[in-house]
Symmetry: C2
Subunit: 476 residues, 2 copies
């Protein structure tokens, strides 16, 4: 009786506190039929929480259908609703180059979260216990992980890979495997045995059955030590996450689901360890399925950015690139189009006619207006969003269009000297992404205004100028 009392205490405490569960909202419980998940289902049901048992039949072992039948029968017997899913795990594995365990896991979680969405459940509960936690942490260590891996699994976590909102919870994370077995014995549960649990060809089983006992010969308290380590690291990971999110607000902006903009000056001011985290955080926002950006990818990004390139692009990992373009860096999905709403832009191909007086609306709140006006006092003004021209020198109708390859321009003041528009853009440090669509005003074949940047020499005001036309770029 003492024993059950402890399990109940742990349950109440961990479900309500660690897993942050509402006692009256539905939980999906993943049930394989083994001791752990059977114990979990029984416990949750016994404590009065509304649950739906979800069994996924991987169709891999000969006992798979018997397992399914067992779960259905047992759930029915204790009055728990159930649902069963099936999937072609083998085919899925072959198709995607996954290992069988990996494919099984993906199919199973996919099913569990699908059920959670369909049934409006508050969370998906799985039966990982303290022993699994040690294996998970060790596995991450052997593979060389960061803190997020070394802290192990969490009582409650949102995994965007499965669902952006519904959390995965692990009520038994503080419970020993021996306690689970004792619980089953005490309550007359007769769980199914999964022989694959002893198959040392499976990475995790080999860790459990061989490596952990080996390490315990160095430190008999290894398991306890590792779990404490995980607990401390989980806390420190949360501190670092906060720090990263703070820094993120200072130096990054997600423009859309495919693009993160990085502000070079603010980003570069952060210490390298925080820059690493920012890149990994950005990548996780763009590719929720990506477990973590690997060490080399992050270091290559940092080398690239440390060079502060005017313009350049590198592959980060599959489907993810990093692009530098003057005042902006972009971490983005391959093929994504960077929004250009901060610049005046004109569509490809067309020619817009700008009458005087008249106005043209570009996209994203940009306008260009033309009107006749009085001769200004200082008509060599360097203000480039408003310009004055000698109407006598202009065609009646002005043309607004994109620049064409090789087109020349004689900027005001550079008497007699023409430059290619492309070179002018470079000299102006105009971001590369904005160049192709940059609006240019022509009179006939003469460039009279690189909009917002520089007026041309051709129709500049003269002392003898009588009629003045004024063009203006406006952003609402």
């Amino acid at each position: 009786m003492l024993y059950n009392y402890r399990m109940d205490l742990i349950l109440i405490q961990q479900i309500l506190q660690n897993c942050k569960i509402h006692p009256d909202q539905l939980l999906i419980v993943g049930v394989s039929g083994g001791a752990d998940s059977l114990c979990l289902m029984d416990l949750l049901h016994r404590s009065g929480l509304p649950i739906l048992a979800a069994h996924f039949n991987h169709q891999l072992r000969s006992e798979a259908d018997a397992d399914e039948a067992f779960v259905k029968d047992y759930a029915t017997k204790i009055g728990v609703s159930w649902v069963v899913g099936r999937g072609d795990v083998k085919g899925f594995a072959l198709q995607n180059g996954f290992s069988l365990e990996e494919a099984a896991r993906k199919k199973r979680y996919s099913f569990l979260f699908e059920q959670a969405r369909v049934n409006g459940a508050q969370a998906v509960a799985v039966a990982h216990h303290a022993g699994d936690q040690v294996e998970t942490i060790l596995m991450h260590f052997v593979r060389g992980s960061g803190i997020a891996g070394l802290r192990g699994m969490q009582y409650r976590t949102v995994l965007p890979e499965w669902d952006a909102f519904i959390p995965l919870i692990r009520p038994l994370l503080g419970v020993e495997r021996a306690e689970v077995e004792e619980y089953c014995l005490d309550h007359g549960l007769q769980p199914r045995q999964d022989e694959t649990n002893t198959d040392v060809n499976i990475f995790r089983n080999r860790l459990r059955l061989e490596l952990i006992p080996e390490i315990e010969s160095y430190n008999p308290n290894f398991k306890t030590g590792v779990r404490r380590m995980g607990e401390v690291l989980a806390g420190e990971e949360s501190l670092l996450k906060n720090l990263t999110e703070q820094a993120w607000r200072d130096c990054c902006r997600q423009l859309n689901p495919e693009i993160v903009r990085i502000f070079p000056e603010s980003f570069s001011a952060f210490p390298r360890p925080l820059q690493r985290r920012l890149l990994r955080y950005g990548a996780s926002k763009l590719l929720p399925d990506l477990r973590d950006l690997d060490f080399n990818a992050v270091e290559r990004c940092l080398e690239f950015l440390a060079g502060a390139p005017h313009h350049g692009r590198m592959d980060v990992v599959d489907h993810l690139i990093l692009e530098a373009d003057y005042d902006a860096w972009f971490l983005m999905k391959q093929g994504a189009a960077i929004p250009l709403n901060e610049f005046p832009q004109v569509a490809e191909g067309g020619e817009l006619i700008l009458s005087v007086p008249g106005e043209i609306e570009l996209e994203n709140g940009w306008w260009i207006t033309a009107k006749v006006c009085a001769k200004p006092g200082d008509y060599q003004s360097q203000e480039n969003s408003i310009i004055w021209l000698d109407a006598e020198l202009l065609h009646e109708k002005l043309i607004l269009r994109q620049p064409r390859r090789g087109e020349q321009f004689q900027p005001l003041g550079m008497s007699g000297k023409s430059v290619k528009l492309a070179d002018f853009f470079t000299n102006m440090h105009l971001p590369r992404r904005a160049r192709a669509g940059w609006p240019i005003v022509f009179s006939g074949d003469k460039v009279i205004w690189v909009v917002g940047k520089r007026v041309g020499d051709y129709a500049k005001l003269q002392p003898r100028t009588q009629r003045v036309i004024c063009l203006q770029l406006i952003h609402h």
Copy 2:
């Protein structure tokens, strides 16, 4: 030749950059005579840095004296000054309950840093290489360490255990053992062999010779992965250290080498993971020899403090206690005396005579003055650092002394009712540490003023009062 070029590059880069060394200041180099330290000495000398080779003879192995002679001869041959130390490692181990390796390490580092101080060296250099790094990280993992352990060794670090200022540097930390051996071969170095390096009874050797190869059967790239992990964690540890130091300034103050004061409200506002770090940081300031506060000790402290006790005390680890006293918590060495300079205090035993007019200087800038004055308008004032009394009711001379056990006091306003001074202190939430020495003003055997806290009823001003005496507590 290509090979040497790489070693030189690594050396220059790592010494100057990672180890932050001045090229013209002396380095102490620990040289055992083995391949690693011989390579280190040779490299540093060859690169033109001023070094002093320091060999510590542990007198443990039969070859110890031959090793010593070898180091002296080789250093002399290449023109490097040397110094040799000896110590009774066995006796030291027995005396302190250390293992032989632990005792040897302590004696050796103690000697190296002593030499650094005596010779005004900028740092002590030791020959740990990339292979040692993997072992160190694995050792910490097996023992269940935090990030500070899992990041492994650092190129440059100050270890207060050995010296508060002179750093330990590890120039070879990025160099593989195989590279060291190749270097020795290329340069005709013939290092001494240490047979104890293959003794699997030594923890570290067993890790290197048995556990690491075992783990490599799970992940052939384990060593690389672990070293990258260490690199990332080293950066994150520095982020967390900054965060801790920021928080420290908000909620802790080191009063002297033995006591840290914690401000309960600010401390409690920080998340638990940061509280853990603050306690460990505080402990490291008080006990520099303490490697790290263990998990359980930290959790017990947090439980204790979470109870927000008015007054209490707990043992943290040997020689370290945590004391809560109303508005202050103290992490302190056993037996340390908490400074009381924020309170008026009077010495034990004595009786000070307060003449009117007159003044008494207490310690730490506290004064009590007495004078005759005009009758105040509002003579029931609640201002407790200045009080007015009816001179007719007082003895000519007032006495200032500590309270005695069981003494009673009739506070102003509680007509007729007396309380024990001890209870009055409790009701006033006066910190326990200040009570024994709290100054009380007596007229005969009547308490007329609990200084700064409450005037007594006995000599209070009356409508008929003619002569008024004014007492005041002043803090300069």
